[in-house]
């Protein structure tokens, strides 16, 4: 199969219902073409993105994880994303100290109108991760 020749990374994107999920929708509506690497997991608020689930994604085989939400100040739940931001800083430091390449974990604020931003974000991360190859935490035989 032609598609198989090139390795396609698997990227888990946690999106909040109100902004970044809408951003991914808007990317689709604008037909901004993206590599087929991302699997979106919807939560109500980026504040719900438990590092536990980020760990789970990596340990199960994710080559990168995207934590996304509303722009600061735009949170549907007042300030969930501020909490996300602080928690993410600890998470990011942990993953880097552990030896994960920084390119594999990202935090981004994407509004429901920023379809193009979502698409270029996916493009950028996918290109970077392709260069790196599979994640060192990916179990053998999994993709």
């Amino acid at each position: 199969m032609a598609d198989r020749k090139e390795w396609e990374p698997k990227i888990v994107a946690f999106c909040c219902n109100w902004c970044s999920y809408g951003g991914a929708d808007t990317a689709g509506m604008g037909r901004f073409q993206q590599p087929a690497s991302v699997r979106v997991v919807r939560v109500m608020c980026s504040g719900r993105i438990d590092p536990l689930h980020v760990f789970n994604a990596f340990l199960e085989g994710a080559d990168a994880v995207l934590v996304t939400g509303c722009h600061l100040g735009d949170c549907h739940y007042v300030n969930g994303n501020y909490k996300t931001e602080v928690r993410y800083q600890f998470l990011e430091e942990l993953m880097i100290e552990m030896g994960l390449e920084p390119e594999r974990l990202h935090l981004s604020w994407i509004s429901a109108s920023e379809g193009e931003k979502f698409a270029s974000f996916v493009n950028k991360v996918t290109t970077e991760v392709k260069k790196l190859g599979p994640s060192p935490l990916k179990p053998e035989g999994v993709n």
């Binding site: 340990l59 300030n79 501020y82 800083q89 600890f90 430091e93 100290e97 030896g99 935490l137």
Partner: protein, 384 residues
């Protein structure tokens, strides 16, 4: 005498018996006894002496038992934080004990308003088992013969029943893998400024040397503790002079200087590409006993919690979910007490691994677990 927050005092027990038996003038023992006797507290937590290497924490409301308790030991077994739950209590504690108590208080396990904490200066403690081994290998003494210990001019002395005294430089001991726990070597809280009163013999010189305790009053609870002991006639205090204060600070700085040295030595940089392999190897021997969680003073969970519930050996992950969840938790909450390393049956240097994560993370957020009641940064994000 009026006691105020911020006072730096020299004090000792008035009763000659307590004064001579307790270390450094028996101030701590006397303050605890007074707190119990005058019902400032209902119980006191003390270490009950078993032998030179072992002591067990007990909770007692018996003044005599407090008076009979052990003074400061260099081979202290456990972190006291998890024993302080419940009623109105007073307890002595090393800086890490106090940090543990504060972490427990943040999580509602301890009512800090009703917990009186007498902090004890600490340059480090030794593991009982390793100490016995050290006595045999380095001192060529029979551990059973040892009746006393002291630290003087950088040397650790042991005294035997027949009066023999033998000292070896602590540096030499630690080079040989003995001496203080690894976590103590890089611990940077030597004076327990997070306690209600911070006590120790640093700064006690001249006539009073060995016969009094230097005591700094850290907060209102500290004021109550001391005033209670003074009013009941248990202790006598005087203001410390500039000289004493300077010397105490000098000892502290010297200790912290050593901390820098050890920190550099222990926390060697691991290149980014090798870290994952390094940690995988470190945790490879883990037998999932859960002892490190059980001992952890920053954890108030019961058996089932996020770190255990979503951890399944059958997953065969490259890194354990248990350790990842705990690493994140401890990156903002670790107090560096060393208990997890102590209890690990397969000798994983758990504390040192946690500190690799916690140290930079807490520094970056200008947050130090166990020092104040301020909670981990993401919990303190308030309404914008």
């Amino acid at each position: 005498m009026n006691v105020n927050v911020g006072d730096k005092l020299l004090g000792y027990a008035t009763d000659p018996g307590i004064r001579n038996r307790g270390a450094s003038g028996g101030l701590v023992t006397a303050v605890l006894a007074a707190a119990l006797e005058r019902e400032l507290v209902e119980d006191v937590i003390v270490l009950k002496h078993i032998n030179e290497y072992e002591a067990v924490p007990i909770i007692t409301d018996d003044v005599d038992e407090v008076l009979a308790s052990t003074g400061s030991m260099h081979t202290v077994p456990v972190n006291l934080a998890k024993h302080a739950t419940g009623k109105k209590v007073a307890m002595p504690g090393k800086p890490c004990d106090v940090r543990g108590v504060i972490e427990q208080a943040k999580r509602n396990e301890i009512d800090i308003e009703n917990t009186y904490i007498i902090g004890l200066n600490c340059g480090g403690t030794m593991h009982p088992v390793l100490t016995k081994e050290m006595l045999i290998n380095m001192y060529e003494l029979d551990p059973e013969d040892v009746v006393g210990e002291k630290i003087d001019k950088g040397k650790l002395f042991f005294k035997t029943q027949d009066g023999e005294e033998k000292g070896i430089s602590i540096d030499d001991l630690e080079e040989a893998g003995y001496g203080r726990r690894e976590s103590c070597r890089y611990c940077d809280v030597k004076i327990p400024v997070n306690a209600d009163i911070a006590c120790g013999n640093w700064g006690v010189v001249g006539e009073l040397a060995g016969k009094a305790t230097f005591c700094e009053v850290m907060n209102e609870k500290g004021v109550r503790l001391l005033e209670n002991a003074i009013e009941s006639g248990y202790i006598q205090v005087e203001q410390a002079g500039e000289k004493e204060i300077a010397i105490r600070e000098k000892v502290n700085s010297a200790m912290l200087g050593l901390v820098d040295k050890w920190t550099e030595k222990i926390f060697t940089d691991i290149p980014l590409q090798e870290r994952m392999k390094y940690y995988m190897e470190q945790f490879a021997d883990c037998i999932d006993c859960g002892a490190c969680k059980e001992a952890c003073p920053a954890c108030t969970c019961k058996e089932e919690s996020k770190c255990t519930m979503y951890h399944n050996l059958a997953d065969d992950y490259k890194m354990s979910m248990y350790h990842m969840v705990r690493l994140l938790h401890l990156s903002d909450s670790c107090v560096g007490c060393g208990q997890c390393s102590d209890v690990c049956p397969v000798d994983i240097p758990v504390t040192t691994i946690f500190r690799r994560f916690a140290d930079p993370a807490q520094k970056k957020h200008n947050y130090k677990a166990g020092m104040t009641l301020e909670r981990p940064p993401f919990l303190e994000v308030m309404l914008k």
